[in-house]
Symmetry: C2
């Protein structure tokens, strides 16, 4: 019997690759935090991915971060398109999002008696979010080892961020080697009601560029396909 792990799953390219990596050694419990995203499409993608990749369980926990505002992903602020320079922290940054998601994952892990949490943060081809950096992940791991009954009882909690130093090209290559079907993943910040990616937000641009570098078409559906 493999040990249990909690895997944060958005249904995007990165977290799907992480689920594939974690599944090789762990009995995986996927967790999607629905933080008031403007589109339910991301949650649908997470459900498909969890089913396809045979996660043991898939929990969707809602927390309404849109009620505190502050982001193009939760508010009515427009998602920027066709940016050629991705400098600075963009309006798609959601205040404290990864802190909230990891905190809920920590609670879920404790109820499962799991000591391992996987998250798909990435500090290379990312959009400049502070909570995607290695020092953030390390600080959360330190906190986790003080925060729970399980840690106090002597278990060592580990936060795994296996993609943190990989480029998007390396992530996709790794996923393809493991047989990940990227056609069912969704990474777009602003998909249309039919679930097609916009192809023009930062997330789409980074993803499309990586598939192009690999000489492949991105198998996910785009609005302009």
């Amino acid at each position: 019997m493999s040990p249990r792990a909690v895997v944060l799953l958005s249904g995007g390219l990165d977290s799907t690759t992480v689920l594939a990596i974690a599944s090789r050694e762990f009995d995986c419990f996927a967790l999607t935090v629905a933080y008031g995203q403007r589109h339910a499409i991301e949650i649908d993608a997470a459900r498909r991915v969890a089913a396809e990749m045979q996660a043991r369980e898939h929990k969707v926990v809602s927390v309404d971060l849109s009620s505190i505002g502050g982001s193009a992903l939760t508010d009515s602020i427009e998602v920027p398109k066709d940016r050629s320079e991705m400098a600075g922290i963009p309006v798609t940054y959601v205040p404290a999002r990864n802190t909230v998601m990891l905190a809920i994952a920590l609670g879920y892990a404790e109820t499962l008696q799991a000591d391992d949490i996987f998250v798909g943060v990435n500090a290379v081809d990312y959009s400049g979010y502070p909570d995607c950096r290695p020092e953030f992940v390390d600080a959360f791991e330190s906190l986790a080892n003080l925060a729970t009954k399980r840690a106090v009882e002597g278990h060592r909690i580990a936060i795994h961020a296996p993609l943190i130093r990989l480029t998007k090209v390396e992530i996709i290559r790794r996923g393809l080697e493991m047989g990940v079907d990227y056609g069912i993943t969704r990474s777009c910040y602003d998909p249309n009601p039919r679930g097609q990616a916009c192809g023009r937000c930062d997330s789409c641009l980074i993803r499309k560029r990586a598939f192009a570098e690999l000489g492949m078409a991105d198998p996910a559906p785009y609005a302009d396909d």
Copy 2:
């Protein structure tokens, strides 16, 4: 104009005292995290307290921790009564609760451009929760200073836990000096549908004992009054 602060407010004795302390120096934005408590009474108490103490704003953010289970406060596990020995971490412990609440407070603070967060955790007359200890609060402060755009831009985030080393008697004395009306606060883990405290859970026992030591009757309504 005073600087802004976020104050985590459950409507209990401790967080109400913290709101009184914070209000002396800060423009206070109260935040109640509704984490799937079995009773909405706690949220009603928080609303009364926020109004009475003139918090500038009071946000209630829901996160359904009951869906991940693991606690007498979110599940159908029975709340223990009349415990004379309060050794070990009890079943009322909610996995990662304070981590989740502080994470949401951090996001809210960022949207308000506030650098100060107040929380009523207490390591003396507490029930043995790991996430009420000074080292937990310090670790969260370190995390907060890596997690947000605001911190990256040079602001220093402070997590204030002004009650952490006080006994319950000292907390009440401090609150009374500031004119806190403890009659509108609720600390019970298992109140009845009329909003009366049970008088027998750990939280009630600690509170009643403290008022007794001060030679006072607890002004909150109890089921056996």
